[in-house]
Symmetry: none
Subunit: 89 residues, 4 copies
């Protein structure tokens, strides 16, 4: 039992086309949401700046906190080693 001959001459492709459309739309919807949130982040920093905070330092803090304790320690060890070797202490 197939979906009969001829009502639709390209059933498979039509289906795939619908799938494609759906995929693209879902992705685009999600990326819009992401953009909204990115803008929210910007707003937070802008407001912080207005309250006298140093935005660059704030971003650094967020970045440091994102590393877990172990990774951060390791990264700092390597860095210290290199800095000592170069007399940057």
């Amino acid at each position: 039992m197939n979906e009969s001959i001829g009502h639709n001459s390209e059933p498979v492709e039509a289906f795939a086309k619908e799938q494609l459309r759906s995929i693209i739309e879902r992705v685009e919807r999600l990326e819009e949401e992401k953009k909204t949130i990115s803008d929210d982040v910007k707003d937070v920093y802008t407001e912080a700046k207005g309250n006298g905070f140093d935005v660059k330092a704030l971003r650094t803090i967020v970045r440091l906190r994102k590393m877990n304790a172990g990774d951060r320690a390791e990264a700092e060890t390597i860095l210290d080693t290199y800095m000592h070797a170069l007399g940057m202490v």
Copy 2:
């Protein structure tokens, strides 16, 4: 040596500390949301791949469509651009 009547010896700094904490937490919350959405995007592509779609091509389509509002318009006005550049306005 104290600023105002001393119930709290560092009222300003304490306030700033709270502000700082709040800023960082808001940013971190937002970035978590962003990560969630990024993962959702990945899921969409993974599912698409399971249905036989070429993920790289899908990403290309999304990228080209994103360009289109701005860059397509820009490309269409390239002649104008040249004319302006030549002072033929």
Copy 3:
């Protein structure tokens, strides 16, 4: 109603066109050179990696050294302040 006796019917525009061409070519030449150097930088890091160095740390070193002593000290002070406030010491 044309400008001067007709050896060239659009002398001004032709001149501007030549200028334009020259500008574009000079810029493109310079950007090629820049790309070459960027690739050289990449090569240095790749070689360093092959010798067991941590490339990310190396990049951090270069970035730190680029800041002058004063700026770096200031940046570190702000950062320390924030980190202490957040108990990240």
Copy 4:
């Protein structure tokens, strides 16, 4: 004068230190060159501006031309892309 027993307690590290120094210096030298060229590009645009050209438009032209090898080809094959995405290869 050999690095075996005891004349030098850290021969490997000393060697690494020299390597490190060399890497950093090479990178810094290359980045200086890059900066010089970037400044040259700026000069070209500044001079162009002095001759009445619209710098923003010039930058647009350069950017569009840079796109053309890759992206124009990509745009031209967008139908192919869709077909692949639909498994109509």
